[in-house]
Symmetry: C2
Subunit: 559 residues, 2 copies
């Protein structure tokens, strides 16, 4: 019997990196390690000093190196695997995280003369200081009827590639000139591991306006946005993009040594952390909806052709699995909204009761919320605690709770927030359905399905669909990176020929599923109508009170 082969998946998240060592044959996780980033998210000061402007979110690239140097050997050791049993390495990265680098890929922040410049540091996906730049890009894109604006649901986000590059140019033109390359984090880490700059076509499509067979918008467009941006593609980005699940290059001697692996083994193409999780939920074909349910909620669906769905985040050919169109939509607030509720609302009395019962308070809360029947609380909420991503694409919308009485207990509010999140997802599915994009199955991964059964049951009831859950819902991205690695290795090296083939063997679901209950479904259909009426009234110009209150708040804070 041939010895087992293994792949390594490395998931670069927002606060830490996670490594898994996975058996190629069946996806079994043999070892794992998590390395928190010592500098975490830089949102107030730079390492070594230097105050940051509000809404900044940067990182220290040394933290990523640490994940490789400490985490991979630790995971290998836990797995008891030797270097020559590992046939490939895959990674994924938060997106859109943008690096300004020298010609050899060195982040500018690691070059002494630039280390005091904030934007010389990796600009993390949740850096929101480029809103004016995003507005400018949206405006010019709309004026010129650019293709990307349609694809992105009529709006370019402040989180995305060119908004951040334009901020560098606006804030610090010299830094812009000094940057030989601007590159997504996921492509940057691959560049480090292989020594060669090769960029993936998925984040290019979702965040950087690139369209397969068409390329980028014209020089005219970039010049219209800013005269000095005219040649940004030719000078600082490049025009070649490669499909997911393919070999980006071979592991360098340096990193092979630092991680305890063999030089030259395949490194798979870069990919965003959300998209990489999808094959790990067993979804590789049209008709299945994948829900990544963590601090925010992301829904991904594959289709065999392109449709324009208003209000989704994007649709990209080969964007999730080569051969299909990947549709992405999302809700800005998921676990974040529940965390807000836990921190700012759950009363001392409930925490005391939980202590007496020797239960975590979240368990008591879930139990009590679960004993309420749909409709019993009299509450309905809009899940816009962090704005609306899909289908309204409006960060200035805010949360709403309606129906409170003197008898409303905290668990009723908790349940209403869960229901609101589920209604938001249903709204997205219905937008897909309206364009003929049907959801047959639903598979979930992320922190919420791992923790909250009540939430999953409510989602099933509200969506009217059975929901299955990935076997290890919290580590789907790392497993997905391992699946990409196995596909990049190819069959001859002991891997697989494609992402779907790899996923077929390596991805598994839990046996327990969540089936909608008909009696709950009926009540939720009625409540969803109420949600939709409020959604359209506050979200579609019936009453712009939320935007006016936000504007007033900014005015007051600026005064």
């Amino acid at each position: 019997m041939a010895p087992h082969k293994y792949v390594i998946g490395i998931d670069f998240g927002t606060e830490s990196g996670r490594i898994v060592v996975v058996r190629v044959r069946d996806g079994e996780e043999m070892g794992a390690a998590v390395v928190p980033y010592p500098d975490g998210v830089l949102d107030e000061n730079l390492p070594g000093g230097g105050k940051l402007e509000p809404d900044s979110a940067l990182q220290n690239p040394r933290d990523y190196y640490l994940v490789l140097e400490k985490g991979v050997p630790r995971a290998l050791k836990e797995a008891g695997i030797k270097a020559d049993e590992v046939i490939a390495v895959g990674s994924d990265f938060t997106s859109c995280t943008v690096f300004a680098t020298a010609r050899d890929g060195t982040p500018l922040c690691l070059i002494p003369e630039y280390r005091r410049e904030p934007l010389a540091w990796p600009i993390l996906w949740k850096h929101h200081a480029a809103q004016p730049e995003a507005d400018r890009i949206t405006e010019i894109g709309r004026e010129r009827h650019e293709e990307f604006i349609r694809i992105y649901g009529d709006k370019y986000s402040s989180e995305w590639f060119f908004a951040k590059i334009l901020q560098v140019l606006n804030d610090n033109p010299e830094l812009y000139e000094a940057a030989d390359r601007f590159i997504e984090g996921t492509d940057w880490i691959v560049w480090q591991l292989t020594g060669a700059e090769k960029r993936n076509n998925s984040t290019a499509g979702y965040k950087a306006m690139w369209v397969k067979g068409v390329g980028f918008p014209s020089r005219d467009f970039f010049r219209a946005v800013h005269p000095r941006l005219e040649n940004v593609i030719q000078e600082k980005v490049g025009t070649d993009f490669y499909p997911l699940g393919t070999r980006a290059g071979g592991l360098t001697a340096h990193w092979a040594g630092a991680m305890g692996l063999r030089e030259g083994i395949p490194v798979s193409m870069g990919v965003a952390d959300g998209h990489v999780a999808i094959p790990a939920t067993t979804v590789t074909k049209p008709g299945s909806l994948s829900m990544v349910m963590g601090t925010s909620l992301v829904q991904m669906l594959m289709g065999s052709e392109r449709r324009i769905v208003k209000g989704i985040c994007g649709v990209v050919e080969d964007g999730i699995v080569p051969g299909f169109w990947g549709y992405e939509a999302g809700q800005y607030a998921g676990g974040d909204m529940f965390a807000w509720f836990f921190d700012h609302v759950v009363p001392a009395s409930l925490k005391n009761q939980a202590r007496k019962l020797n239960l975590p308070f979240a368990t008591l809360l879930e139990k009590r919320a679960g004993s309420l029947r749909p409709g019993e609380s009299g509450l309905v909420a809009l899940d816009w605690w962090n704005g609306n991503r899909s289908v309204l694409v409006d960060a200035d919308l805010t949360g709403l709770l309606l129906g409170a009485t003197l008898a409303t207990p905290p668990e009723a509010i908790f349940r209403a927030l869960i229901e609101a999140a589920a209604f938001g997802t249903r709204q997205i599915i219905e937008a897909f359905e309206a364009q003929g994009l049907h959801t047959k199955d639903v598979v979930a991964c992320g922190g919420l399905p791992a923790r909250n059964k009540l939430l999953m049951q409510i989602f099933a009831d509200v969506m009217g669909r059975e929901i299955r859950v990935a076997k290890h819902p919290q580590t789907c991205s790392a497993l997905g990176a391992a699946i990409h690695a196995a596909a990049a290795a190819g069959r001859q090296a002991g891997g697989y020929e494609s992402i779907p083939e790899a996923a077929e063997h390596m991805a598994h679901l839990q046996s327990e599923t969540y089936r909608p209950r008909p009696e709950n479904r009926k009540v939720y259909n009625r409540l969803f109508k109420e949600f939709q009426t409020l959604h359209d009234y506050f979200g579609r110009a019936g009453n712009d009170v939320m935007k006016r209150l936000k504007a007033l708040k900014r005015e007051i804070l600026a005064a």
Copy 2:
């Protein structure tokens, strides 16, 4: 120098009775006592057993006797006052609290054969089980264009006199027959003290459809409501009503002995606890708005003529001070809504911080809410946690909170609830203004002005008016009862000729006042517009979602 004269005021509240011994010359409080009702509010079981239906709220009349027997001697002792220095006794009572009695005034519940019948016990103001009866009365009143329906803002409340009597008739026709009299609590206690049934014209006007110079609706009306109700007035109520601040009779030998007072001293006419407080805030003439700010909010304004103001609770000639029209409006949720917030929302973290700072958590919350500027929270709320009393008159409306984000702290929600209560009051003032009823001054009493300076400042800012506060804001009803007593005594006995004259000497204000701040006022004018838009959208049939959710809740609970 003549010896001082004193009067006693007895305030029968919801949970306890409060007695004050007051110097007639200047209103100085010489002694006081509070006697909690041992049986409190009966809302689940009768004393001695017997389950109550939902929404019931009854009381035990022996608790009222206890207030007289224990409380008055204790207050006299504290004051160091002898019986012959007390020239009169006044009292006020919650309203509309309805007693079914025998011909001699004995509550039916004290007669053994009726003690197991719930409605043989005093039916407390907040007993809400007579809603179907109230709906029936409203329907017939509207059909017949009855005068009282106009006066009561187009709706008869489930809390009021005939709704409760009709419930007795519907639920227990034999008990209805057994009741020789139906009487307001405030008139019943006066009957006990004097031995004679004499009813006041104020609660008759506000709760029992009686109109000065007109009387009650016709027999036809009552027959249309229920055939057996046709002769209710003639048989069980009576048609004679007497003005506030006059002598109802002399104290009986029995009660003089039990309380340690002189037989025969004047007992003033019955009066509701809200109305009696007004003279104690120094308000006895048109143009001043009195706000009683406790668990709920009541606004009272006097006018020199009758205007129809849509959505107020009522307008009654001589209803507060003889000679003027008393307009009453209100908000169902005041302190109750903040109590809900304290119990169900304030998080453990804030309570822990308060503990570390050695502060009551409400103080820390108020401090933090006070450090927010108007508009800074981005929140707006509708204060309908207990329905809307004025000007929408709709108990099925519910609370709304709009504008929450992941950064919304609990103090911002607290402030938004205070602002919502203030906007609700402003809405009422504007309804008065629209009918030419102008508010020149505002005076507040009740538990909230005693406790929460931030709230008072926000009310001043939102209303754009200076607010003065009664000297002892929490005991205005008891002082008011003493003022009524002094007026009932008359000048010859050492009292005064009228309520205004008594109030002029006996009622005082705090020197500190709350003045609107122009910069806050400007922002609140903008926020009030948002409040009004939401108020009308949810309250005036723009979107009846609140009513539908309440109906759904009832449906679910009944299933």
